[in-house]
């Protein structure tokens, strides 16, 4: 059972320019010939990740934390090892602050439930942004309705960037909670999160940062960021579906009640009452997604070996290339800020062609393109569109895939001319 180099892309040295051709060899799916331009939705997964999961299934499949035999110990060790990998990856102070969830959505719901119900009261203000994903809106709407709190949304300017003047005004009103995404999945906007967190903390707010689109694509340091909670999903960062992370500052997590109750999250259960387990297990009730968490650990290894600065540099190059290429297409509207201030996400619309028609035509060319509202309906309403087409990139994306997208767009324009 050796896995020491499992996460290492062949020959990769941290933060050297990415060797995309070598990286692509780790992703068998590219043998199908697809151009995969939907990594903001979910990423592909390298052999190192599926291999780590398969190894669990084939060599030490068992439940964790509960059994005394050897394979169960092995499973527990592998499962817990991911916590330290993730801690180091986002520079949290302690593994006690790393809670496994199913993903960003569950992480945010956990906070809305276990922190929100204790801390949000009648008349309190919650500040969100128009760039937020539904998963960072709906849990707060439910909480606000239940508590009689209210929500204000920071708007965007014409470049698709958050209006910091309006944010500052809202902070004057003393919000209890500020929650926003570091990177917008719909437009790719990279928000000035450090400044925003600092301002929000100064105003006395608790701050949750939705890191679903930032963690996979750029270096993240939660302590430098200064937020109280940080949520992300493994499946967008080369890991499997079903495993994600909630980071929470220890004192906040300590003060919170459990989110779900049952096995594993308890210390002792008596008929008269129960004492809860220590952090982080207090929030991990029931049998966990063991293989998925192990897979997530392998994904973190893989990304760490590449180096997140190199990952960002590669995506910036592809994004600049795509931005240029798409700017040249007649009748195409690009949404959001210029490449230097956006992640590897390009959202656009074509005159006279609905994004779904474009996506269907692209699909005929094996180009996987997202069309829709990107779980950001308030933003779509704000932009005055029902849907956009979106191309998004990752460590394995090649310029040639962008060229294929442009080819599909031209083909759509020919058909619809």
């Amino acid at each position: 059972m050796t896995m020491a180099i499992a996460g290492r892309a062949q020959g990769a040295l941290p933060n050297q320019p990415l060797d995309v051709a070598a990286i692509r060899k780790d992703f068998p799916i590219f043998e199908t010939g697809i151009a995969y331009l939907d990594s903001a939705n979910t990423s592909q997964r390298p052999k190192q990740v599926t291999g780590a999961m398969l190894e669990y299934f084939e060599k030490f499949n068992s439940n964790i934390h509960r059994a005394a035999y050897r394979i169960a110990e092995e499973a527990t060790v592998r499962y817990e090892a991911t916590r330290e990998k993730v801690r180091a990856f986002i520079n949290a102070a302690s593994t006690k602050e790393i809670v496994y969830t199913r993903g960003t959505t569950e992480s945010i719901n956990l906070v809305a439930y276990a922190w929100g119900r204790k801390n949000i009261a009648q008349g309190d203000l919650i500040v969100l942004t128009i760039l937020d994903h539904h998963s960072n809106i709906v849990p707060w709407q439910i909480l606000a309705a239940e508590r009689g709190a209210h929500i204000e949304y920071v708007d965007i300017d014409e470049k698709g960037e958050l209006r910091q003047d309006q944010f500052a005004d809202l902070l004057q009103r003393g919000p209890k909670l500020v929650a926003f995404n570091l990177v917008s999945n719909a437009m790719g906007t990279i928000n000035p999160a450090r400044d925003m967190v600092a301002a929000a903390k100064k105003a006395g707010a608790t701050v949750l940062v939705d890191g679903a689109q930032s963690t996979p694509h750029q270096p993240v340091d939660v302590r430098a960021l200064g937020c109280d909670f940080y949520a992300f999903s493994g499946h967008k960062m080369l890991g499997p579906t079903g495993a994600g992370i909630l980071y929470g500052r220890r004192e906040l997590l300590e003060a919170m009640d459990p989110f779900m109750a049952g096995g594993d999250m308890i210390k002792t259960v008596r008929i008269e009452g129960t004492t809860y387990h220590d952090l982080p297990w207090k929030f991990e009730a029931g049998t966990q997604a063991i293989a998925e968490v192990i897979g997530l650990g392998a994904a973190v290894d893989y990304l760490s070996a590449l180096g997140m600065d190199a990952v960002r540099a590669h995506e910036l190059e592809i994004t600049e290339y795509a931005y240029e290429a798409l700017s040249d297409v007649e009748g195409l509207t690009l949404y959001g800020p210029p490449p230097s201030r956006r992640a590897g996400v390009v959202s656009f619309a074509l005159e006279g062609i609905h994004p779904h028609d474009l996506a269907t035509i692209a699909d005929r060319d094996q180009v996987c393109l997202r069309a829709g509202h990107h779980c950001a309906m308030p933003l779509m309403t704000r932009l005055g569109v029902a849907a956009t087409a979106r191309a998004s990139f990752y460590v394995y994306t090649q310029k040639e895939e962008v060229d294929r997208l442009v080819g599909s767009i031209k083909e759509a324009q020919r058909i619809f001319a």
Binding site: H354, I415, F416
Partner: protein
């Protein structure tokens, strides 16, 4: 090159119905009016009906969205005009898909059947069952 496949899907008459929709617009004082949307892709289709002696004497549709949803609505209005309500009631999902005459992927079925939903829910007050 995939042009053949595309052209099969986006057949000339479908594109024609999309670009030059039949019976497009609104009726004044319609006897029945109903609108449905498909929030997932933002397609909207609404229909206005004039009914005389149990027969659909006039019909208009309005909306926006992808070629499949709009062409399907346009085709359906052509078929509905002059039909009795009883006959219109019998139109089903297979009729609508058959009229489009193309293979529709599961992801796009909702687009194709949005206008049928308008007909059913609006004109007959049937529960909005998702035709999938």
């Amino acid at each position: 090159m995939s042009a053949a496949a595309d052209d099969q899907f986006y057949r000339e008459y479908i594109l024609d119905h999309y670009k030059n929709p039949r019976n497009y617009g609104r009726l004044e004082h319609p006897d029945i009016t109903h609108e449905e949307d498909n929030p997932l892709c933002g397609d909207v289709v609404g229909m206005d009906f004039r009914v005389e002696d149990g027969v659909i004497s006039d019909i208009r549709f309005h909306g926006r969205g992808c070629a499949i949803s709009q062409a399907s609505a346009s085709l359906l209005t052509e078929r509905l005009k002059g039909l009795s309500l009883d006959e219109a009631k019998k139109i089903n999902k297979d009729d609508v898909l058959g009229e489009l005459g193309i293979d529709i992927s599961p992801a796009r079925i909702k687009c194709a059947l949005l206008s049928l939903k308008v007909l059913k829910v609006g004109a007959y007050g049937l529960a909005g069952d998702d035709e999938e």
